[in-house]
């Protein structure tokens, strides 16, 4: 195996190590949006991502299970309000994910 193809394989193998919880486009959109705010509610996130209510609920549950998003429910008067925020773990994972993807893309472009 040549030096070049070894490098390509190494790059491809890094793809296997990518966290699938945020690699999914909808979840990446959610976590990226949450990374730029301290917290936001469900409606804001729906508008920013363009996801449907059901889709957003589903992906938020997955991100919460992974520990990347914190969901806090409270009442303002009689109205329920769900505030969402990215956790420290979520921030770290997003940063790692972006760096990894950038490295992989760069390695393909350079080769």
């Amino acid at each position: 195996m040549s030096k070049q193809s070894k490098s390509d394989t190494k790059g491809l193998n890094r793809l296997l190590g990518i966290d699938k919880a945020i690699h999914e486009p909808a979840r990446l959109m959610i976590i990226a949006t949450l990374s730029v705010v301290e917290s936001a509610d469900f409606i804001f996130l729906m508008n920013q991502t363009g996801l449907t209510q059901g889709n957003l609920s589903f992906h938020l549950s997955r991100l919460e299970e992974s520990g990347y998003v914190a969901i806090k429910k409270k009442f303002i008067g009689k109205r329920p309000q769900t505030m969402l925020s990215i956790t420290d773990k979520g921030h770290r994972t997003l940063k790692e994910y972006l760096n990894t993807m950038k490295d992989i893309v760069d390695s393909f472009v350079d080769s």
Partner: protein, 222 residues
């Protein structure tokens, strides 16, 4: 690349709160509150000698504009756009805006009474009273600073329109034979702001309808 995209994403999210046109309408109404007594005075419908009307009109319009801003944001924007709390820099900038507004309101109040009670030192060759010149400069400074801190670019245009309104009206009154300078100037400055505000507001209402079952969605997130 990473920083640039995240920054752009944050900016887009933050600026989405200016899509409702409520700030535009608020500023338009405030400017109208300055112009309307002058226009009505030109037509002879109110007299500056009787203090109540020139005081009452701006007061009603200012209170109305403020109520529209507060309740509009609460009952029109928030149910449609949702709520987001932004980072430290945005919070710090908003604190600056609040401080600027408090100082500006205090200065505005002082100037208003100086104008009202005709304690007006007339400035130089232009014949424009000093408080009016200060009003123009202050408007330009305050709205430009607000535009900068709020990242709200339309506000730069409004700063300019606000700033020229009063000084230009007085200058036209004293240096030309125009019949209705106040009507002309305030139509050219206030109407564009209100039209932009209305267009943006209607677009916003069409683009972001309230979805009835969203609260159920809120409930279902966990």
């Amino acid at each position: 690349m990473e920083q640039l995209n995240i920054k752009a994403l944050e900016k887009k999210a933050y600026r989405s709160f200016f899509k409702d046109g409520i700030y535009d309408l608020f500023i338009g109404l405030i400017l109208l509150s300055f112009g309307l007594p002058m226009i009505l005075n030109e037509f002879g419908w109110i007299d500056y000698e009787t203090i109540s009307m020139p005081l009452l009109i701006p007061l009603i319009l200012n209170v109305g504009a403020l109520l529209f801003l507060i309740f509009g944001k609460k009952y029109i924007t928030t149910p449609r756009l949702g709520i987001a709390h932004f980072g430290k820099t945005r919070k710090r900038n908003m604190r600056h805006v609040k401080l600027i507004l408090i100082i500006s309101a205090l200065m505005g109040g002082i100037l208003f009474f100086l104008i009202l009670f005709k304690a007006l030192p007339v400035g130089g060759k232009t014949g424009i009273p000093l408080p009016i010149l200060i009003f123009g400069i202050q408007s330009l400074l305050v709205f430009s600073l607000m535009a900068y801190f709020m990242d709200f670019t339309r506000l730069y245009l409004y700063a300019f329109l606000f700033a020229i309104s009063m000084p230009l009206t007085i200058w036209l009154k004293r240096n030309t034979t125009l019949n209705y300078p106040s009507l002309l100037v305030f139509t050219l400055t206030t109407v564009p702001i209100l039209v932009i505000g209305c267009v943006v507001f209607i677009q916003f209402l069409n683009q972001y309808p309230i979805k009835k079952d969203l609260r159920i969605g809120n409930e279902q997130t966990k």
